[in-house]
Assembly symmetry: D3
Homo-oligomer: 136 residues x 6
Amino acid sequence: MATVKLLSDAEADAIPAVKAVFDDIRATRKTDFINNFWRGLANDPASLARTWDNLKTVMTGETALPPAVQEMIYVAVSTANGCTYCVHSHTAAAKAKGMTPEQHAELLTIIGMAAQTNHLVTAMQLPVDDVFLVES
Amino acid sequence: MATVKLLSDAEADAIPAVKAVFDDIRATRKTDFINNFWRGLANDPASLARTWDNLKTVMTGETALPPAVQEMIYVAVSTANGCTYCVHSHTAAAKAKGMTPEQHAELLTIIGMAAQTNHLVTAMQLPVDDVFLVES
Amino acid sequence: MATVKLLSDAEADAIPAVKAVFDDIRATRKTDFINNFWRGLANDPASLARTWDNLKTVMTGETALPPAVQEMIYVAVSTANGCTYCVHSHTAAAKAKGMTPEQHAELLTIIGMAAQTNHLVTAMQLPVDDVFLVES
Amino acid sequence: MATVKLLSDAEADAIPAVKAVFDDIRATRKTDFINNFWRGLANDPASLARTWDNLKTVMTGETALPPAVQEMIYVAVSTANGCTYCVHSHTAAAKAKGMTPEQHAELLTIIGMAAQTNHLVTAMQLPVDDVFLVES
Amino acid sequence: MATVKLLSDAEADAIPAVKAVFDDIRATRKTDFINNFWRGLANDPASLARTWDNLKTVMTGETALPPAVQEMIYVAVSTANGCTYCVHSHTAAAKAKGMTPEQHAELLTIIGMAAQTNHLVTAMQLPVDDVFLVES
Amino acid sequence: MATVKLLSDAEADAIPAVKAVFDDIRATRKTDFINNFWRGLANDPASLARTWDNLKTVMTGETALPPAVQEMIYVAVSTANGCTYCVHSHTAAAKAKGMTPEQHAELLTIIGMAAQTNHLVTAMQLPVDDVFLVES
C-alpha cells in the first residue's frame, strides 16, 4: 500500500548495510521494534544509513534541548506539514520521553495559535518591524 | 504596502476599544513598543481584542512549558508555514526569553530534519504502525 | 530579479500569440494595464494563452458566485499557500469588485480561524465523523 | 486512534466546564450531535471554551458574509492546508447552509486555479506590481 | 465518501460532454480504466474537459522533458502539497513510464533534502545572494 | 537581517571545522563563491558539515538522474514549500547545469498543473483507486 516495499526482518537481514543500521537502531533504542519509516527507507541502504546517522546524532547523546521538547518541535513541524504518520509517531515519542498531558494540551494550543497568526500576518502582508531585524 | 492600514498611535488612541488593548499590551510586556501585527489587526477591534486575549492567556502567566520553549514551537510552525514576519518576531522573542545560541542551532536542525522525514514519509505513503495508534 | 524575463509591451507586441492574449486581457478588463503575472507567463505563449483562457472562463461571464466572493476565495487559498504576489493582487481585485472593509475583516478572521482549527485537527489526528461521509 | 482521547457524552458531562460548552453547542446548532473536533478539544476545557466562543462569535449572529460563503472560505483554507477532516466537515456545513452544486463546482475550480497560479507566481518569483501596493 | 459523487460509467455515458472526455482519455491512454480523479471532476463537465485538455497538451505529444521526468516532478510537488491520492497515482505513472528503482530512490532523497534545506533557509531568513538575481 | 549571523570569509577561516567545509565546497564546485546558505549554517559547524556532506553525496558523482533534472526536482519542492531563496538558487543551478528555456517553461507548467490537481483532489477527498495500491 506504500509506494515502496516495507522490508521484513528477513529481507533486512539479507542486506548487510541494512542489517547494520537495524541492529544499531535496536541497540540505541533498547527495543526490538523497527517502525515502518526505517523499513521503507531500507530500499535505499545509503539513504537509510545517512538518515539514521543524522537522527541519532541530533536526537540522542548531549542535546541542547530536553528530549521531550525536541519531540514537541518535531510534532509542530509535522503538523504544519500535514504528515499523519509523523504526527502519530512523534506524539508517541514525546509521551514516552515525558511530555505531560498539560504540556501536550499547551503544545496543541500553541500550534493552533501560531497557525492562526501566521495566516493573519500573510493575509495582511505585514512588513517586518525594524526592531526584529537588528543583527543578533 | 500591507493589504490593510497599520494604525498609528494617534489613530489607535482615537478608538477606545483599540486603545484599551494597546494599553494592556504595553502594560503586560512592559514596553511602549507595539509591533505591526497589532497595528494591522486594529482595523478590526473585536478581532484585535480576541486575538490578544487568547495570546495573553496562553503565553503568559502559569504555563506548562517554559516561555522560550513556547516561542521555539512558534518558530517551528511559522517556518513550516513560510511566514517571514512570524519567523523574525518569534525568533527575537525566543532569544529575549532565554533561548541560547546552542538551543537555536538545535531548533534549526530539528526543524530541517523533521521537514526532511515528513516529506520522505509522504513520498513513501507509509502506513502508521499499529503501536502508534493505541489509545493514549 | 524574477527567474524569468518580464516581457515589455514592445517585446510582447513582437510575438503575435502573446500580443493576441495581451489585447484580449486589455479588452476584457477595460484597462491598458498588464500585470507582471502575464508578462512572466508570456515567455511561454501556449501557457499564457491556456491560463488566460481558463481564468477568463471561470472568473468572468455567468458565474455561480459573485465576483467579490470569487476573489475572496482566491485570497484564502493564496494566503494558505503563502503567495505574497497573489495575496496582494487578489486583495486588490476583491476590493475593486466590491468587497467592503467589514467583509475584508471577516475574511481575515475566517482564514485565521480555519488555519487554527486545521492545525488542531491535524495535531489531534481526528477521525472524520460518519455523518460527514454520507454521500451527497 | 487519535493522539488524544475523544470524550464520550458521559465523560463530558462529568466535567462542568466541558458540559457547559457542549450544551451551548447543542443549543446554538439545534442538534444533539457533537462532532469529534469538540470531543478531542475537550481534553483541555479552557481551549475548548475559547475555541467555541471564537467560532460562535465569528460564524453566527450578524455576519458580513453569508453563512455559505463563510463555509466556502473555510473549505478553501482547509484544502490548501491539506486537512481531510476539515474539508469534509466544512463542505458538509456549506451544503447545509445553502451552497448549490453549481457553487460547489465553482468553488473547486477557483481553489484549483488559485493553487496553479500561486505556484506559477512562486516559481517565477514575480515582483509585486506597484499598483497593488498603494495604500487601501 | 468523497465530497462529490464519483460518476459510474453509466452515469458518465448519459452526459455527452462527459462521455466525450472519457472516450478521449481511454483512446489516448490506450486503456479502459478511468481513475477517480476524472470521475469526480465529471460533476462539472466544463472543468473536466478543460483539465483533461490541459493535461493532455502538457503531458503527451512533443515534450521538452522525458515522460518519466515529468511524472517525477509531479510526485515532488504532490509530496510537498501532501496529496496522498496524487503521490500514489503519479508514482505509479512514473514507474509505468520507465522510472527505475534507483531513480525513485534518488527522487525520494532529493525531495527530502530539498524540504530540509527549504526549512533551514526559511528559519534563517536568508537574503538571496546577488548572483542569483541577475537577469536570465 | 537574517535570524543568524552570515559568516564572512575571515570569520569562517577562524574556525577550522568551518574552513574545511568551505574549502571543500570551493574545490568541489570549482569556484570561490560561497552562497549565504552555507554562511548561515556555519554558525553550527556540525550541521554545516553534515548538510554539505549529504548534499555532495546526493548531487554529485554517480547519480541516477541527470544534474539538471535533480535541480528541477529541487525547484519543484522549493516552489511548493514557498522558499524564495531556494527557488532562486536552484533555478540558477538548473540553468547552469543545462536546463533549456523550453524545459524551464515545461517545468513551470507541470508545477502549476500539479498544484491545481493536488488541490482539486484534496477538495474532493478522492479515495485512491485500488490499481494504484498494488505492491510495486
